[in-house]
Symmetry: C2
Subunit: 210 residues, 2 copies
DNA sequence: ATTATCTATAGATCTATAGATAATGC
DNA sequence: ATTATCTATAGATCTATAGATAATGC
């Protein structure tokens, strides 16, 4: 049964959405093409029509998830500058920790991504570059080189802390990791930044921390 | 063909060694029981005799890998205090980045670990606690709470930077991430610590950075 | 007698392809 | 005529179990 061109495009988009969420939730190898197709209400044959292989779908899904989760951080392409404190609190929130399927692709899949093929790795590299670019303007450092280093350190700290908070069994330790990493990153943030209202009202928007 | 009790213990140990390395290299779901058994020169049936299930083997392998890689960081159980700079340089070295099979279990598997069963997660939690305990004495902070927070931030930064450096396609960016994160972590380290000789001569010992 | 190991195999699952189907696009 | 989708299926792989084997441990 053939469908209209628009319908086909919608179906393709729905596969991407399902893949972007399910890969982040269960890992690249934790979910099969069959399950992805089912989540998009299609047969697995249709997935192969659209993407050719699981690997190709994975690469597109990573890029897709990246395009969605990056603006949520606050480092969007619009001129508006979001304070570092807002981005950090948003990223290191319990809401984000508890929603890997809708959250940062790097934190959820970068470790596995290192073992994937060329296309997937390229998507991750682009993602890291874009996150650094979005973060840099908010990092308070005078010297350009120092800011570059600091930006990388801030990103590494956020990603590492989120991964640790998810890996750990004990809810108290998990919360502690999020709070401590955030506090350390913002240890000399200006007081006005505290309590800034999130710019977007996404799933990652409300930060879940009191 | 039955073997001696000692031989059986050796075989068990060899399975653990192979699992600890292969899981870190290929991920929990990237390697099958058959391949693990083959790496230990045994049949897969023997693996089930020793561990009962792949999940149980994974939990023991994580604990095993942890016990091996923790002293390499420098935060061993002996009274000797290793400077933070030594630990950071060792951890954020190219040698470590390029040897996931012999390196930090948390960086290699924690993201996947969050999706594993109880036993595996418990092993990771214990691992995070032990790494924090090994790191804390080297973190230069007066206030106890501030030190705790800083220790968590240092660990998160190291793990995040290593994961990022492995995920990224471009060798120059990968090196940059390691260098920048290290430089930022040690930005106010005393000058005497620079160039400290690594305590152990393990695979992780020589740091590969000029 | 116990048991570490191996072989054979069950049963599930996974990626991918081939060919049929049926409706769109021209 | 083209093509998006589905069904059927191939072929591989993966976890796990059952039963046989043969040497140790007592």
């Amino acid at each position: 049964m053939r469908v209209t061109k628009e319908k086909a495009a919608e179906n393709r988009e729905r596969i991407l959405q399902a893949a972007a969420a399910l890969f982040r939730e269960k890992g690249f190898e934790g979910v099969g093409v069959d399950a992805l197709a089912a989540a998009a209400c299609l047969s697995h044959g249709s997935v192969y029509s659209h993407f050719g292989s699981k690997e190709a779908l994975a690469a597109e899904a990573v890029a897709h998830a990246l395009a969605q989760s990056l603006p949520q951080l606050g480092g969007g392409a619009d001129g508006e500058t979001v304070p570092l404190a807002t981005m950090v609190r948003r990223y290191l929130s319990r809401t984000h920790r508890d929603d890997p399927g809708g959250g940062c692709v790097i934190a959820a899949l970068a470790a596995e991504g290192a073992r994937q093929g060329e296309a997937v790795r390229a998507a991750f590299t682009e993602g890291v570059r874009r996150m650094l670019g979005g973060l840099a303007p908010a990092v308070p450092e005078d010297d350009a080189t120092a800011r570059e280093d600091a930006t990388i350190a801030v990103l590494a700290t956020m990603i590492g802390a989120l991964i640790l908070s998810r890996a750990v069994d004990d809810p108290a330790l998990s919360d502690h990791i999020l709070r401590a990493a955030g506090a350390h990153l913002l240890r000399d943030a200006p007081a006005e930044e505290v309590g800034t209202v999130p710019r977007v009202q996404s799933k990652m928007g409300s930060d879940g921390n009191p």
